[in-house]
């Protein structure tokens, strides 16, 4: 029983991180119809930067966010404005996949160059601390990671719902032509949308660095589940992605009990295939998803 509860709690904690990262992927897809393969590579890059920051300065890795979030935002804007916008609209979806894929390879290779392929882990004073809730053991770092993801996701949500920029962003996602007609500079908005997406990778990477080991090629283990999440949630829907992330994260965590870690991962892919067979537009996707 406590094992079940334990997995459930871990599932929620993991689901939070998935939700934040999937929201980022959804943003790229929403503003540009781009499947951003390099998202998880940037995630690992942020984890390395957090690790590097804390080993060099001796400060808490969380403080690296002050640098990585603006840096990633800037890189996102740059990527959209300089690279993605260069592609022909007719072949944008396919060519952007290849372009972001090549960026992922370059990042992986560079990380291997700079930090070698060995596994890295951040040593934290509070790394071993944990506490008990209803008989479930929860590591403090996992809780911090979850809180970080939850706060960022909430901030993103508020930004989308409450601010003028958020409105412009949503308009651009739903109907670019109409948004342009009412005077929204959709190119600029798309750039910022990309920046925001990449900023989620910065936050996610730092959260990841707190309690896991990481290595350059780890991003492949993240991109698959994240892709599955955005398809199940319905491409382009942020709430859909968040819900799917939670459900799948918990499912994975629960399945680890009978199946073990490796086989539990296949759950994402099975969910992906099942969704495409039964409901190809995803479970929360609107009109956007039908055409892609």
């Amino acid at each position: 029983m406590s094992l079940l509860l334990q997995s459930l709690v871990l599932g929620v904690l993991l689901g939070g991180l998935y939700a934040l990262l999937a929201a980022g992927l959804t943003l790229y897809f929403g503003v540009m119809r781009v499947v951003m393969i390099a998202h998880s590579a940037f995630l690992i890059l942020a984890a390395y930067l957090a690790w590097w920051f804390s080993t060099e300065t001796g400060l808490d890795p969380l403080l690296s966010l002050v640098l990585t979030v603006p840096l990633f935002f800037g890189m996102g804007v740059f990527m959209q404005r300089v690279l993605i916008s260069r592609l022909r609209p007719a072949t944008l979806t396919m060519m952007s996949v290849l372009l972001t894929f090549s960026i992922a390879l370059v990042i992986e290779g560079m990380l291997g160059f700079a930090f070698s392929g060995t596994q890295r882990r951040i040593r934290l004073d509070y790394g071993g601390a944990n506490f008990e809730v209803f008989g479930a053991n929860v590591a403090v770092v996992k809780l911090i990671a979850f809180a970080l993801a939850a706060v960022s996701l909430a901030a993103l949500f508020l930004l989308m719902k409450k601010t003028q920029f958020g409105q412009a962003l949503r308009a651009t996602i739903q109907h670019p032509e109409a948004a342009r007609l009412i005077g929204i500079n959709t190119d600029r908005v798309a750039g910022y949308g990309f920046g925001l997406g990449l900023a989620t990778a910065a936050v996610g990477g730092t959260a990841l660095a707190l309690d896991s080991t990481f290595y350059p090629s780890l991003h492949w283990h993240w991109i698959g589940p994240l892709m599955a999440i955005i398809v199940v949630g319905g491409l382009g829907s942020i709430p859909g992605a968040a819900i799917a992330a939670m459900v799948l994260g918990m499912g994975q965590s629960l399945l680890q009990i009978p199946l073990g870690t490796t086989w539990a991962q296949t759950f994402f892919y099975i969910a992906l295939f099942a969704t495409l067979m039964v409901r190809p537009q995803g479970f929360f996707g609107g009109r956007l998803a039908q055409r892609f």
Partner: protein, 395 residues
């Protein structure tokens, strides 16, 4: 129906055209013969067994890239996970030989059929909606297969790999093995190219290319787009699996890390894209260039992170600056310097739209008028009055 005068102009144009066409066909036949001779004589000119083995690897890449191009080139759907089918083909061949002891060549073909059958549900899941899902599934498939083949040790050999019995006995020495497999790969490549060519010139191929250009439009013209895409995809998976099976029989050892590798899938994409996905020999050319470069770097610098970076940069550059590939670019260059090739247009539609935007509506109208006049014989005498009428009515 064309009038008498129309027919005469058409035929006179057609005869000039036929001679040109015949000339280019002869040229093509010669080029093809030279290419075939070059490929087939490679084993005899290869300096040593190592070079010959590099040749086999490059031919294997050529088979895989050409197979990839059945779906990538015709429909424009980019699969990053074709390593799934080559890997499955390899494993299915190996496992069939080990567990049933059947003839290895038969096993290879059976493996191809099994993979083609598996590709049907995968294709149904990923091709019903547009590109994005297809790409996602293609990546997911490689990742899931890597997981399964690493974990399912009892059946697949797991991370320790799988030793595949060699089809030729121990009396056939290493260089001889390489030579035989070089020709076998060349044969498979020849078959794949032939099928690609046959599809390219068929109605089915025309439909597929229309899907690549504009899927909605193709469907509106009656092309059953989903079925077409699915068939192209299954054919592609079949040939990719054969390529994987042949490689497995040659190399004799399968490791999931290398079989179900995103990198192998992306090689196929890079090779095809670099050579030109719309050309028959594009993937082959790309395979020779990229395959050679990969083997060279591996030999010089070992299996380092460097070639990930190089691969990524090269792919990025091709996507950004040469998405059509080498062959179309080279053909354009030749066309430009060819004499007496009268171009039918001075300005393209895109240029025209640009001009119209910059020069204002009136100038644009006049410009287009002039354009249509020499293109199609429309009398322009009544233009001024007509313009004012339509302009008024459009308000």
């Amino acid at each position: 129906m064309p009038s008498a005068s129309d027919t005469t102009t058409v035929t006179s144009a057609a005869t000039g055209d036929t001679t040109r066409r015949r000339g280019s066909m002869l040229l093509k036949a010669v080029a093809l013969a030279v290419l075939a001779a070059g490929v087939l004589s490679f084993p005899s000119v290869a300096a040593n067994p190592f070079i010959l083995s590099v040749g086999v690897v490059i031919m294997s890449y050529a088979v895989l890239a050409t197979s990839w191009n059945f779906v990538g080139g015709f429909t424009g759907y980019i699969s990053l996970g074709h390593a799934a089918y080559s890997g499955l083909g390899g494993y299915a061949t190996g496992l069939l030989v080990i567990h049933t002891g059947i003839n290895p060549w038969l096993a290879m073909v059976l493996a191809g059929l099994v993979v083609a059958a598996l590709a049907v549900p995968i294709g149904i899941a990923s091709l019903r909606v547009r590109g994005a899902s297809f790409v996602i599934v293609s990546i997911a498939l490689v990742l899931i297969l890597l997981l399964v083949f690493q974990s399912w040790g009892s059946f697949t050999g797991g991370s320790n790999g799988l030793r595949v019995p060699r089809p030729f006995g121990p009396e056939v020495l290493r260089p001889e093995q390489h030579e035989r497999f070089f020709y076998l790969h060349a044969l498979l490549l020849g078959v794949a190219l032939l099928v690609w060519w046959l599809i390219d010139r068929s109605r089915f191929g025309t439909g597929l290319k229309a899907i690549r250009e504009d899927e909605d439009k193709a469907q509106a013209l009656g092309v059953p787009t989903f079925t077409y895409k699915l068939i192209a995809f299954v054919v592609s998976a079949f040939f990719t699996a054969l390529g994987g099976g042949l490689y497995a029989l040659w190399f004799g050892f399968l490791d999931p890390i290398f079989q179900f590798s995103i990198l192998v899938g992306s090689y196929m994409v890079l090779m095809s894209l670099l050579g030109g996905i719309r050309s028959l020999f594009g993937p082959f050319l790309g395979a020779v260039i990229v395959g050679y470069a990969v083997e060279y770097f591996k030999n010089q610098y070992g299996d380092s992170q460097f070639h990930l970076v190089a691969m990524g940069l090269l792919l990025g550059l091709v996507v950004l600056f040469m998405p059509d590939g080498i062959i179309p670019a080279a053909t354009n260059l030749v066309e430009r310097f060819r004499p007496q090739k009268t171009s039918i247009r001075e300005v393209s539609a895109a240029d025209l739209a640009e001009q119209r935007r910059t020069a204002g509506p009136e100038a644009g109208q006049a410009d287009q008028q002039a354009r249509t006049d020499d293109g199609t014989d429309i009398p322009s005498t009544d233009t001024p009055t007509d313009t004012s009428v339509t302009e008024g009515a459009r308000r």
